[in-house]
Symmetry: C2
Subunit: 341 residues, 2 copies
Amino acid sequence: MVQNKSAVFLKYPTEYPVAGEHIEIQSKELTVALKDNDVLLRNLYFSLDPYMRGRMRDAKSYVPGFQVGEAMSGYGISEVFDSKNAAFPVGAIVSGVTGWQEYSVIPGATGLRVLPGARDSPIPLSAHLGILGVPGLTAYASLKIIGQPKAGETIFVSAAAGAVGQIVGQMAKKLGLRVVGSAGSDDKVDYLINELKFDAAFNYKKNGTILENLKRAAPEGIDIYYENVGGETLEAALEVMKDHGRVIACGMISQYNTQQPYGIRNLHHVVSKRITIRGFIAIDFVGEREEFAKEVGTWLVKKEIVYREDVADGIEASPEAFVGMLKGKNFGKQLVKIADL
Amino acid sequence: MVQNKSAVFLKYPTEYPVAGEHIEIQSKELTVALKDNDVLLRNLYFSLDPYMRGRMRDAKSYVPGFQVGEAMSGYGISEVFDSKNAAFPVGAIVSGVTGWQEYSVIPGATGLRVLPGARDSPIPLSAHLGILGVPGLTAYASLKIIGQPKAGETIFVSAAAGAVGQIVGQMAKKLGLRVVGSAGSDDKVDYLINELKFDAAFNYKKNGTILENLKRAAPEGIDIYYENVGGETLEAALEVMKDHGRVIACGMISQYNTQQPYGIRNLHHVVSKRITIRGFIAIDFVGEREEFAKEVGTWLVKKEIVYREDVADGIEASPEAFVGMLKGKNFGKQLVKIADL
């Protein structure tokens, strides 16, 4: 008799979720009766992402909300463990939306993709949830399409050591931009400067306001702001933005876990500086996926791009890891490893 | 000996400017010595526009600031009164940037355009400062290019009875959109509904919050927000905006005359609803001018579009008219008439 441990969503948080109060590990006996086209997955990794906080609300968002009493879910990498679907044979390695759990039944194998050769590839499986996955596509396509980056311009990236930020920054360097980043610890700032070769970076918790830090790091102003955090950082970015600046609105994590959202007081710059602010989600750019996979895959193989992961060990660790990620405790892309291949 | 009365900029206001304190009528003897290519204009009309408040600051804006001790300036319609420029003969009717004054010398005739046939046209001269001038081009080009309007969509226009708003609303109706407007008096709301044929309109000062009013007027949500006012109205528009909504950021007049700007707390919708907010100024769309003049000119001649002007009489009235316009006291495009042709 096999047990299936899951991280189950218990109730809607109003501020930061608390492990045990809002998400709890539960174990149930695994009894599976696959229908035609269904598959049973043995999950290996899953991704923890800021957007998931939006799914913990009893309101419409761009992805359906989590259901109370059900397992949390998101992108994962899994091995097909049992199958009634010829396209997904037992032993295949797949990516797709899975539960935060040891085993998941995927009716009709909906949304799964086989990762051919993944079992023997030099590229680690976890990369398909990060630099070669949704965060990578997000960074690549939004910088290119919304950012319209030009050599010689300056880009400011917030949460720059995070899953998306680290890719944006390195890609912008390749394109000849001056790259400035912010992060929440000195270790992360060192990483931005020394490993990712940012031109300037600052710890937003130190040495004065965010605006003061940003003015020191980008005295010439900025052309593009890659927005991951919102609030005071967005206000500072608008303040130093040049005419015709672009804001790539990927996320606003500082605003997700509070009932007192920060009021942005300087949107008048949008008119006078002719700024464009554009929000998006990764699936808007699904048409870029092929080019992205080819280009970033090549950079990765040639070691022209680096990335960092923060891997929590085991399903039991997932609630704490999720809350930590929302608080910026992760260093690099936050993952949970559930099992070895 | 001829006197030349001017409205002279005296000092930088921090909140609303006050007639007599920040702008004063002064009269000086007119002594002119034209050099080659210069012209002397007898001014007939000039335009009062919200963006001018930005020129009353000691800071960089998209147009140069007003100089303390000099006449205020902006778009006007004038008759060439004396000329050393063959392209602008005496008696020609011209538009261009002139002083708020009875007579202006324009060195090199810089920026002036002759309005051919204007003297005998059925189209009144003042239209060249409104529906056929910069406000018209602003409305036409920004709605088309930034708004990307599609039949069946809903647009919300703030300051909808103003110079730009009334054109945007009627153009959107022509394109098959549902049009909702806000204004600051019941008279203006009546005008929007009965004269401009808006589908819905509300007085933002009455019947609850702006958000409550907007939800009643656009229960299905909005696809496009034509932004003229900023602050609470922008926040309400983001709240009811649909996925892939567009904000055409033309102006934010509610934020120009205060030292306590309103903090927008719901920009997170930009990410989750994939909203685009884009600022612009009219000269960004100078390439649209020919098509605009042809199309809107035709509508005007065929009486398919109407507009309303609020004309202050005489240079002496200009400071009060300007302050009134900033406070929304004008009904339609605010002009000052200085002299008859």
